[in-house]
């Protein structure tokens, strides 16, 4: 692959991610609206929201780290997008892999946490402590799933993962080969996206939206962008692990939208759980499913 080609991919991959991610945000709001029998926002509403936030007159910063935190949160996702293969573009996916990605996805959260911390608002800190706890909770089943998939396909390389599943057809997709792992992975996805019932860290009435409490203007806009990346990344990662990746952009987009739509729909059916209940929930069913899936994988 030529250097130019690679450079183009490095620019294109985050850009695509951004656009698709915004569309996913739109989808989230549409699903919510449909469930409540509303029409929902127009097509470009998420984009307008971002632009509005970035161009607001009042932009309150609590210090350099507050700003740097947002930069890291967004920037790390930009980097992450170059590490997940999409149809036609592998970027530098072969330099990393499943495990690297699992850990790299903590970096944006860390950036956000730094920024929130500098805001010096206890509501934000409480939100962080809850978000961290949630991460500890859902990463355990998620990493079990990662292990299972890597063991099943004998590789952690995402490109190879996709290649194996596409070569063998649907019968070799992760979801067919090991549905238990796929279900457990879906659970993890739900928690990772921070939607109900895993939403205690926001809790608007209790801690005034937690991490977001001191965020406004382009800071909130940054979080918005970060969330769009997050949806996209989660969708792609799950698709890569269980749904054979993308043969072409058409099927690929369908897959990732469906993947993300499931947790988003589920979210609207749940209240938010208390932290300890959330931990208990995640450490019970997903872990059991993942362990059973592992037994199947190792067989």
């Amino acid at each position: 692959m030529s250097t130019t080609h690679l450079l183009i991919e490095l620019v294109l991959m985050p850009l695509v991610a951004f656009v698709v991610g915004l569309a996913m945000l739109l989808m989230l709001r549409k699903i919510g609206a449909r469930l409540q029998r509303r029409v929902g926002p127009p097509l470009l509403q998420p984009l307008f929201d971002v632009i509005k936030l970035y161009s607001k007159r009042t932009q309150v910063s609590h210090g350099l780290l507050h700003e740097a935190g947002i930069v890291v949160a967004v920037g790390a996702y930009v980097a992450i997008e170059t590490l997940v293969p999409v149809p036609g573009m592998n970027g530098i996916a072969e330099k990393g892999g499943l495990i690297l990605l699992s850990y790299l996805m903590m970096v944006p959260s860390l950036g956000l946490a730094l920024g929130v911390g500098q805001c010096a608002n206890p509501n934000g800190s409480i939100g962080l402590s809850r978000a961290m706890t949630a991460m500890l909770a859902y990463d355990i089943p998620f990493m079990l799933v990662v292990f299972g998939v890597a063991w099943q396909f004998q590789t952690t390389n995402l490109v190879e993962l996709v290649a194996v599943q596409q070569a063998g057809g649907i019968a070799t997709w992760g979801i067919v080969e090991n549905p238990l792992l796929a279900i457990a992975g879906l659970f993890g996805l739900q928690a990772m996206l921070g939607k109900q019932p895993f939403e205690i860290y926001v809790a608007p009435a209790e801690i005034a939206t937690g991490p977001m409490v001191e965020m406004g203007g382009k800071f909130l806009g940054g979080l918005f962008v970060m969330q769009s990346f997050q949806f996209y990344t989660a969708g792609v990662l799950y698709t890569t692990m269980f749904l054979g990746g993308g043969e072409n952009w058409f099927t690929f987009l369908i897959k990732i939208f469906v993947v993300v739509a499931i947790p988003l729909s589920v979210a609207f059916m749940f209240p938010r759980y208390r932290t300890e209940d959330m931990v208990r929930l995640v450490w019970k069913w997903p872990v059991i499913l993942a362990l059973l899936g592992l037994v199947v994988a190792v067989q």
């Binding site: 330099k95 850990y103 932290t275 300890e276």
Partner: protein
């Protein structure tokens, strides 16, 4: 005189200088220069790190027919490099304002410098030991030099360091005695103390002999590393050492245990033979024991760290947990695992030392390491914050710092060997670490700045430069892990382990050059995006959303105590202090036996007892001969 001799003599000289003029004002600087000299001599030995033959010392004293041999190989050189650099930078750190402050608080700076130098000498002697006898000599020297450093801080620690040191030395003596037993078994089996003879003799050993040899070695080395269940001594002993000393100990001192295990797993006995000792045939062998001990050592101490409210104890507990990763990798036995385990030694030293130093810099300025009495210091000590930030990312093992690379190798090794449970334990350890170190960072540097810290200044350069140098190691070797993996591969070769196939960017499908590169690229994009927004305005920390309250200096607006209250609601009941309980049971039983022994000596009817004993002895002899 070989370069090794020069190095040892130079290290001794450094110690002598420290003990004579250690309390002078210029001593720290002079000593830092001397350590740098040691470092240069190690650089002269650098070919060892790239596969050169071991360097032998010319000095080989013979006693009771046994010879003491010193010989440095790639493994020893690798550890020695970490040791000397750690010694150099912590001494530099202590050379300026910190040392001044320590002396003013009544600390014995000269003794601290001497103790650090003694530790370095002892470590060098140990790491270059060429047979079992010199290994034992070095081992004991390291133990006792560490003890000196731990107990000398009585004033500063409020008298806590003494009992902590005593607990340490009791455990250390237990380890030393186990090592002595191993020496004896080896001598019995091979007729000498030479490594080569032992290696030859291992095959001829009977099963029980081999098992007891492995157990004796393992006991000695695991106690030193603070692996479960012998970990209780470590955290308080390291936390209450004088600042730079504690940083040195935390960085490298206990890793000699890993060095020893590497020798056992590598050359002396061999991981294959250890795996061949089956406890439940076909299901569980001795190697699995090591791996499970390592995995539990990762998890339990890490979650103990999560509950600490003193920054020093928190870090020290993490130090124990990180040892688990090293052993886990080493016991995995393949090129990836052992490579990751060995690399983690350097990585751990490179972030643990600056983390300790950053905590002590905060203590130097604010007088406390209590995580509930700090906060918001990032505005006052931004560089110290940066050091701690890099350090905690390394400690937590997140990319792009070096801690991730070594852990990655261990993960992949476990993955390839199909060990999901060990893998998930290792991951749980990492997640717990993330939580815990974020609390450390948050409670120290983030949130509201306290009123009494409004005037706090950044740490002086004499403290910052060494910290920044160490932190830069974390970044550089995280980006280009191949620099370290070269040395690790040589060490593996020296041990007779499979050698890790690697590039400058990493190994096993990981290329950190690219990963770091795209991260920089991502951050650049993120910055551009951020700057594209409207210009922001800085506000005071009291200018905050407080739900209708007015924020003033009197109004504490910080969240730090019981940081993970929700989590603790759930897992708090799992902390049972079982090891502390077990330790107290051992102590109580020794106490009871001691009381019994005392009672024997207090008996008034001594003669009656004597008569009984006489009759008993005579009867025993007669019976013995008769049968």
């Amino acid at each position: 005189m070989s370069v090794l001799d020069q190095l040892l003599v130079f290290a001794f000289m450094t110690g002598a200088v420290a003990s004579f003029i250690g309390d002078r004002r210029f001593a720290g600087t002079l000593l830092a220069i001397l350590y740098f000299g040691q470092f240069l001599l190690l650089v002269k030995l650098a070919p060892l790190g790239y596969g050169a033959q071991p360097v032998v010392s010319a000095w080989q004293p013979a006693l009771f027919g046994e010879v003491l041999v010193w010989r440095m190989d790639a493994l020893g050189w690798y550890f020695a490099l970490i040791t000397v650099v750690a010694g150099w930078l912590v001494t530099w750190y202590a050379s300026g304002e910190w040392g001044q402050g320590y002396r003013e608080r009544g600390g014995n700076l000269g003794l601290m410098h001497t103790a650090v130098a003694a530790n370095v000498v002892a470590m060098l002697l140990l790491l270059s030991s060429g047979n079992l006898l010199s290994l034992f000599v070095g081992w004991e020297l390291v133990s006792w030099a560490g003890f000196l450093l731990m107990v000398m801080n009585g004033r500063e620690s409020g008298g806590v360091s003494g009992p902590a040191g005593l607990r340490y030395i009791t455990y250390a003596t237990l380890g030393a005695m186990a090592l002595l037993a191993a020496l004896a078994i080896a001598h019995h089996a091979s007729g000498s103390f030479e490594y080569i003879d032992l290696i030859d003799a291992v095959d001829q050993m009977t099963g029980p002999t081999r098992v007891s040899l492995v157990i004796a070695f393992a006991l000695a080395f695991t106690i030193k590393m603070g692996l479960l269940p012998f970990h209780l001594w470590q955290a308080p002993a390291y936390a209450y050492s004088p600042g730079p000393g504690g940083a040195f100990l935390g960085a490298i001192s206990s890793r000699v245990g890993l060095w020893g295990l590497a020798m056992v797993f590598g050359s002396l006995i061999g991981i294959g033979r250890i795996a061949g000792i089956e406890l439940i045939p076909g299901w569980f062998d001795l190697r699995d024991v090591f791996m499970w001990v390592a995995a539990l050592t990762i998890v339990l101490p890490t979650f103990t760290a999560l509950r600490q409210n003193d920054a020093r104890l928190l870090l020290a507990w993490h130090g124990i947990g990180q040892g688990g990763y090293m052993l886990l990798g080493l016991a995995a036995g393949d090129a990836l695992g052992t490579g990751g385990g060995l690399m983690h030694v350097l990585n751990h030293a490179s972030y643990q030392a600056p983390l300790f130093l950053a905590v002590f810099a905060v203590m130097h300025r604010t007088g406390t390491s209590d995580l509930n009495r700090l906060g918001g210091l990032v505005a006052r000590m931004p560089l110290t914050f940066l050091v701690m930030l890099i350090g905690i990312i390394g400690l937590a093992g997140l990319p792009p710092m070096n801690g991730f690379v070594s852990k990655y190798l261990v993960y992949i090794s476990l993955l390839r060997q199909g060990e999901p449970l060990l893998f998930i334990l290792a991951v749980i350890g990492t997640l717990g670490t993330v939580l815990s170190v974020f609390k450390l960072l948050h409670n120290t540097f983030l949130g509201q700045l306290r009123v009494e810290h409004m005037e706090v200044r950044e740490a002086p350069w004499s403290m910052l430069i060494p910290m920044l140098l160490m932190a830069s190691v974390v970044v550089v070797t995280g980006t280009a892990p191949g620099l370290v993996l070269d040395w690790v591969a040589s060490a593996q070769a020296a041990l007779g382990l499979p050698v890790l196939d690697h590039t400058l960017g990493g190994a096993a499908g990981l290329d950190m050059l690219w990963v770091s590169g795209v991260l920089v690229y991502g951050f650049a994009v993120g910055t551009l995006l951020f700057l594209s927004g409207n210009k922001s305005r800085r506000v005071h920390q009291f200018d905050n959303y407080a739900g209708g309250h007015f924020l003033t200096a009197e109004n504490q607006y910080q969240y730090s105590d019981q940081f993970y209250a929700g989590l603790m609601h759930h897992i708090g009941g799992w902390y049972r202090a079982s090891f502390t309980w077990a330790e107290s049971v051992v102590i109580a039983s020794v106490d009871a036996m001691s009381a019994a022994a005392n009672g024997f000596f207090r008996r008034t009817q001594a003669v009656f007892l004597l008569l009984l004993a006489t009759l008993g002895s005579v009867a025993w002899l007669l019976w013995g001969v008769g049968s």
